[in-house]
Symmetry: C2
């Protein structure tokens, strides 16, 4: 007998017919003798609808209240899934974030899980009842409802799997698994049988959108075996696992793009201590996550600072950056939203030299200008003009994956 | 400086435009120096939509889970109202039932408030912040979400007013106040300036639908001054107040109808001790509230028992009653849903004789057959065939109210 966490995304619970399909799968797993905790997202489109409603209500709605609003999406699915399971004769009970309880910090809209008290959940499972947990949501210490950000239900699922010591965390989605690239952009992309946590981490953070990055961090830290698979068939998907030596033979595992990026440049920043801290401190205080940062020294004793932020935070970040730019005596602020970050990822890069040069050559051959570069041990990213997105990805996929 | 609870029903918060109107009213009250706690219902139609969804999910959805589903309606309105208030520069904060916290028993779908811990709410109000409370919902001791039944937001509002020691509880609705009868049925119905708690209690329980009965019970018990008024204008509405001697001059204050009634008859019940307890105990265990009960002795040593239940509980009650009828050896069960209960109400009845006879004469004159009769100190109710609803109400209104 195993304990399995099964997470179903928005398209898998888009309507009652699909919720019944999900319930049937849960019932089969339970019938085979396993304990099942189910984590559900909001029905497809619901979260976007609620976000739109909040924006109609106010141009910049307060984030605490937006979370109260958004949390209803998963609450609806959790109760419906429990009702459908019960109607099929499967004992089931819904749990909201505060009922589990999943405690988070108070960063509304992108809260982090700090503690899970899974005692009641465990008792429920041990009694043979399916626990249906509303994903994406938690509660902060003061009792306010929080949400975990886009894709947060993945993190709910993996964190619960860790807290429960589950044997596996199955992430059911509308794709068959993790691909070498986005098949909608790169026709030759193919499904991976397995992928290392670190690779998945880079791909998730690069916008592969299969799993929320925090869910992979959780999985890696607590050794949760994650199986990404389709909710529409019984095919094996992709296992996200610990790295093993055989993986190093492959230089590049995936080519990813992140289109949710915007670029900000502060020109003529006076070259004195503390200005960067002031700038990025202000941005961090607004809970905006800065990704890449580049600083170029100019001849006249001032520098230009360029950095990227999530496109969804751009409107909020721009006035903050302009204010700080004024305070520190910078020359001005320029912004650009029609950019994209394209990356190649692979644990094999650790042992292969010249990968970066090969990447830049490939892009140069297509006449694609590189605006920013960032690298890690197992990843190389470039920011380019958004119009080159498809060309860049196909060229890199051909060069590094199809040719090998 | 006063502390006011303002409750807004579904039609008053039907869309964002109306929520803005509500917020403007709240802002005016606060600007005049008062502390304001706002209680909101779900947007008009939302609760029905969610109920329909639950019924699509399962024929008899488990009530605990239905409450989880239904509670999202008020959660959406509370967050939106807080967002709109904040956008108008009014500090505001939403509270869900479990956040207040409003503790109830575990009778899902019709829970009763057992305790309110209003400390956090009071601190919020004293800080000058408007507290926007999701009506209709609470939490039981074990942490499960509960709902208070149709119109439960009225009870939330009055109970909060009692807990906070509020100076008034304003119930904003889509009508101007409490009328002598339903104006859609009785064209000559007129608005009452004031009405006694006990009269309101009878009218609420008789289906006047202006206020949920429990809210009036709460108001009476804790002496909460309730002002029922329109959210669409600034007219004075109807004050629900303690009875005073001048009210006795009026025999009948209102004529009400309750269309949410169904009748069940158990025929040939063996005449022995305990059968009534067995029958009504079973029904009570299913949380079905029986209203009128009549028992007729037959010649053959058995009796017929007739009673009414809410029409919405009829489908659930019928199989239970049939089962018990079999167990106790009754001859059979008959049910009827096309009935209506019509009542006249007035504290003046205590001091006026012959009111019942006058009522029966009025109905007899119109050829309306009376199926069941029930009376209290200040009320006389009759169950009649549903087709006579309008005729009966208009005749009684003319006889007792227009003629006086």
């Amino acid at each position: 007998m195993a304990l399995i966490v099964q997470k179903f995304g928005g398209t898998s619970v888009a309507d009652l017919a699909r919720i019944r399909t999900v319930a049937a799968r849960v019932a089969r797993t339970r019938a085979s003798g396993d304990q099942v905790a189910v984590v559900v997202s909001a029905m497809a489109g619901e979260t976007n609808k609620l976000v739109a409603l909040a924006k109609q209500a106010a141009r910049l709605p307060e984030e605490r209240e937006v979370d109260v609003l958004l949390a209803t999406g998963e609450q609806v699915t959790a109760s419906l899934a429990a009702i459908v399971l019960q109607a099929m004769g499967v004992p089931a009970r819904s749990f909201l974030g505060h009922q589990v309880r999943i405690e988070t910090d108070s960063a509304f809209g992108k809260a982090r899980i700090v503690r899970i008290d899974a005692d009641q959940l465990r008792q429920t499972l041990e009694a043979g009842t399916v626990a249906v947990v509303a994903g994406f949501q938690g509660v902060d210490r003061s009792g306010s409802i929080t949400t975990l950000g886009r894709g947060g239900s993945d993190t709910s699922a993996v964190a619960l799997a860790a807290a429960l010591g589950a044997d596996a965390c199955e992430i059911y989605t509308d794709v068959d698994g993790v691909y070498t690239s986005d098949p909608r952009i790169v026709p030759h992309a193919r499904k991976l049988e397995r992928i290392a946590f670190d690779e998945m981490l880079e791909l998730a953070s690069l916008g592969a959108k299969v799993l929320q990055i925090r869910s992979v961090e959780f999985a890696k830290r607590y050794g949760v075996k994650v199986h990404v698979r389709s909710s529409f068939n019984d095919n094996e998907g992709t296992w996200v696992v610990e790295e093993d030596p055989s993986m190093e033979a492959v230089t590049v595992t995936g080519v990813a793009a992140d289109q949710d990026q915007a670029k900000l440049t502060v020109r003529g920043v006076p070259d004195r201590a503390g200005v960067a801290a002031q700038l990025f401190g202000t941005i961090a205080d607004a809970n905006v996550v800065v990704d890449m940062i580049i600083q170029n020294a100019s001849a006249d004793g001032s520098t230009d600072m360029t950095f990227t932020v999530p496109r969804s935070d751009y409107d909020r970040a721009l006035p903050l950056v302009e204010r700080v730019a004024g305070e520190i005596g910078a020359r001005g602020v320029a912004g650009q939203t029609d950019i994209v970050k394209v990356s190649i990822v692979g644990v094999g890069m650790r042992t292969h030299a010249g990968v970066a040069a090969q990447m830049f050559r490939t892009l140069a051959r297509e006449g694609i200008n590189i605006q920013m570069i960032s690298t890690s041990e197992i990843k190389i990213s470039v920011v380019i003009d958004a119009r080159y997105l498809e060309l860049a990805m196909r060229s890199l996929h051909e060069e590094f994956i199809e040719r090998r």
